[in-house]
Symmetry: C2
Subunit: 215 residues, 2 copies
DNA sequence: AATAAAATCGACCAAAAATGTCGAATAGTC
DNA sequence: GACTATTCGACATTTTTGGTCGATTTTATT
């Protein structure tokens, strides 16, 4: 047994079903080890939660750096950033953040700040450059828009989880992101946007038809 | 404040996020009342859980009786029963049942038995009649099939919740039900089945196109 | 308006559950 | 076979939560 396996398991449990849903006993029995062993690698529950938060931030950061490598064009770039957010929303339960906020407030602000600091400069840069490039409306106030989208992201994230019974989280979140995109896109760039979106849409539609064709 | 409002709220919270996720304080504050008031209407937490279980069973029973009113044909009838199950799966979190099993075992068996006793005779009747009618394969052993489908229902129910990040629960559960339908349908009745299914499918596809047309 | 009755609040207590600890037991190594 | 490293699960301590009670507010009545 090593700390990586434990951390990985805790990460998975915490991010998918929330922190309070699992006691230290639960985690130990999930790993088929004793609590003693668990406490050999993590000095306390608090410690474990901190490490998981660190991992969440690191993963998000890494995904964003991956998205930075997206080829030319600020439109494509922003779509790539959004795809990362969709993925994050899909795999992370809001319960993780509500538990964090309630029981580990310090870690919550630290993580939230960290995540913000990852997305904020990227959005700002891509917006400013995109306005110059002419794909986003010139009347936009980049700093303000970045703040707004960050607020919206958090709300959409919670909302997607609420609607989980009727739609997949991905669907909800993606719709919200499209709404945002059409809000900032320059009129001249709409055809370009629709070409880019059709790639995602096509992938989606293929999935659906595939499914529907089974009967 | 009255007991119906309390019960309704507890029902919603328990069935959507599980029982252990909410303390009596949580429920009280959710209703913006004090615990004292809560305990005026329900003698204990156990009592409240029991009442919620009773309500779950009653709702399911009522929905099934509604499905009984479906017009002619055993195929339509079984589709109506399945629609009830899809609805039930959609709005009920498996956490509700796992919490029940762990912390209120007596209520769990009572509720499970009750739900089984609602679906069992209906499926048995519709299968037996459907075989005579010729819409289901004659080689089926109705009693055995009923037992099997009941087992499958429970598994699918849990599974749908696991896949919740990728697909909507409805989609998963409906696919599972189709699988079952094609398993029991008589070859001659397949066209009839597909006509019936296309009604649902059409409704689904309309939804999807509607959504996709927004961009 | 005064009084009685009913309902509500939130601090409080006791019981239950969770975190974190420790000596005993086990497995591996020389 | 003795020594070391690691694991176990029972146990003590802390935290949380179910349930209670007197004080207080609200409502109804005269």
């Amino acid at each position: 047994m090593n700390e990586h396996i434990i951390l990985h398991t805790a990460f998975r449990l915490f991010t998918t079903h929330g922190i309070q849903a699992y006691t230290m006993d639960d985690i130990a029995s999930q790993l088929a080890i004793s609590k003693k062993t668990l406490y050999r690698f993590f000095t306390s529950r608090h410690d474990l939660v901190q490490q998981v938060c660190k991992q969440v931030a690191a993963d998000y950061h890494q995904d964003m750096e991956e998205a930075d490598k997206t080829g030319e064009g600020n439109l494509r770039r922003i779509l790539a950033y959004m795809a990362v957010n969709v993925e994050f929303c899909k795999k992370t339960s809001p319960a993780f953040f509500t538990d964090l906020q309630k029981h580990y407030p310090a870690e919550n602000v630290a993580l939230t700040d960290k995540l913000d600091s990852v997305i904020e400069p990227r959005l700002l840069k891509v917006l400013e450059q995109g306005i110059v490039e002419g794909v986003f409306r010139g009347s936009l106030h980049p700093r303000l828009i970045v703040s707004l989208i960050q607020q919206h992201l958090k709300k959409d994230f919670e909302f997607a989880a609420e609607l989980v019974n009727d739609y997949s989280k991905e669907e909800v979140f993606r719709q919200a992101q499209y709404l945002f995109l059409y809000g900032i896109i320059a009129a001249e760039a709409i055809p370009q946007l629709e070409i880019e979106l059709s790639k995602y849409s096509l992938a989606n539609r293929l999935e659906h038809t595939e499914k529907n064709e089974t009967f």
